[in-house]
Structures are given as structure tokens and as C-alpha cells.
């Protein structure tokens, strides 16, 4: 199961890095049409990473029990927030941190309701 958790986490990280690439692509394509920004290498890389993440989670979810999946699901939000601050230097305030923690708690609560 440790391997499945590692694969799932790798998928989460890949998807989060993909979002950072997409943000870069979106900013670089601000002066172009949206359709043309889909040809930006950053956006293409972003979607390739998303695809990789989908494959990784599909493999991992075959093995992972539901209670472990529920605990891991909101991690994507945390990783994207961390990358936004560290890599993109986005400004974050205390309210945002609380908001993120509340959302993560809400997702766990929601998922527990499906058990």
C-alpha cells in the first residue's frame, strides 16, 4: 500500500505543478486569444502533467482503501497553495490560510459522509 500512496502523492504533485505551468501559460498569453494560449508550451506541459496525474491516481486507487483516499484527497489544494506562494510568489494573508484549512476540513467532512 505504501507504493500506492507514493504513486497517488506523485500524481497530486504532478497535477499541482501542472497548475503552476498553466498559470504561467495564461499570464504569458494575456495579449493573445485564449485558443492560441493552448499552443503555449507551458500550457501544453501543464495539461500533460494533468494527464500523468490522472493515470497515477487511477493506478493508485485500484489498491488504496477508501479511508486513505479520503485523507489524501484534499492534499492537492494544499500543494497548489504552497506552490503558488513559493514558485509564483503570490501574496497570501492569514485569512487565506484559514480559508484553506476550513476548505480542507470541509472536504474531509464531506468525504466521511460518503463512507
Amino acid at each position: 500500500m505504501t507504493r500506492a500512496v507514493a504513486i497517488f502523492l506523485a500524481g497530486v504533485v504532478a497535477a499541482s505543478i501542472g497548475q503552476v505551468f498553466m498559470k504561467h501559460g495564461a499570464l504569458r498569453g494575456r495579449d493573445r486569444s485564449v485558443l492560441r494560449s493552448f499552443l503555449d508550451p507551458h500550457v501544453i506541459t501543464g495539461y500533460a502533467l494533468m494527464l500523468l496525474s490522472t493515470v497515477a491516481s487511477t493506478i493508485a486507487l485500484k489498491v488504496l482503501p477508501l479511508h486513505v483516499t479520503i485523507a489524501l484527497l484534499p492534499l492537492g489544494y494544499v500543494v497548489v497553495v504552497l506552490l503558488s506562494v513559493v514558485v509564483l510568489s503570490e501574496r497570501m494573508r492569514r485569512d487565506h490560510v484559514w480559508g484553506m484549512l476550513v476548505i480542507v476540513a470541509g472536504i474531509v467532512l464531506f468525504s466521511l459522509g460518503t463512507l
Partner: protein, 146 residues
């Protein structure tokens, strides 16, 4: 296979993080239209899921041909394309972490769609979770909305 040199890794890193000419000074100040794009993103995402679920329920044998000819799956794909289109527009004006955290609103729509369209069971914990998520999203977007 030789590992990539430090110089090459540096070049990849510079390419990945290069903000482009002048873009390092672009402020992230969302306009009201960006929130509309975000809402459309969430709606298209959930519509894609609902179409996919309908296709799965109506498909007797899941073959490749059945996927290609199912109007529900094709509809689901169109919705995903629309979601990607609006996500690009969202990212042009909203900080990544704000936009990404706000997409957790799809839990509200997925709960409503499950209940209304597929008559799925909704538990008190599901509802409580959605209420908590909405409160969290409010905390995240409050500054950008004002």
C-alpha cells in the same frame, strides 16, 4: 544514462519559471467577469461529470465504439473543453491559489446534481461538509471580492 547536468537543469528551471517580458509586474486584480468565468468553470466541470455518469448508466457494454458514439460522453468531452477554455481566462486574472481553492465549490454542485438528477442519498455529513467548504471559500475570496 547520464543524469542531466546542473547547467541543463538550470536552463529548464529558468524556462519553467520565466514570467515573460514585463509579466513579473502584472498585478492580479480580478474583475467581476473573472468570477463569472470561475463559476462557468465549475458548472462545466460538474456538467461533464453528470454527462459522464449518465453515459455510464446508459451504456450496456463499455466498448471503445460505444464511447465514441455516446452523445452523453461526447457532451461530457465538450464540457471539459469548455472548462479548460474558461480556466485559462480565470488564470489570466485571478491568483492561482485563490482560483484553485474556489473551485472546491464543485462539492456543492456535485451534491445537488447527485440528489436532483440521480436521486442519490445525501447524508448530514455531506451537507455539513459543503457548508464548511462554502465558509472556507468565502474566507479565501473575501479580499478579492471587496
Amino acid at each position: 544514462m547520464r543524469p542531466p547536468s546542473r547547467k541543463r537543469l538550470g536552463a529548464v528551471r529558468r524556462w519553467a519559471l520565466d514570467p515573460g517580458p514585463g509579466l513579473e509586474r502584472v498585478p492580479d486584480t480580478p474583475r467581476p467577469v473573472h468570477w463569472l468565468y470561475l463559476l462557468l468553470c465549475v458548472v462545466f466541470q460538474i456538467t461533464a461529470v453528470a454527462f459522464g455518469k449518465t453515459a455510464a448508466l446508459r451504456m450496456e457494454t463499455p466498448t471503445f465504439g460505444a464511447f465514441l458514439t455516446s452523445p452523453w460522453y461526447l457532451g461530457s468531452l465538450v464540457c471539459l473543453v469548455m472548462q479548460a477554455f474558461f480556466w485559462q481566462l480565470v488564470l489570466r486574472g485571478v491568483r492561482l491559489f485563490v482560483a484553485y481553492l474556489a473551485t472546491s465549490l464543485h462539492y456543492l454542485l456535485i451534491l445537488a446534481a447527485g440528489r436532483i438528477l440521480f436521486l442519490e442519498r445525501v447524508t448530514p455529513l455531506n451537507v455539513a461538509g459543503v457548508v464548511v467548504i462554502i465558509a472556507g471559500v468565502y474566507l479565501v475570496v473575501r479580499e478579492d471580492l471587496s
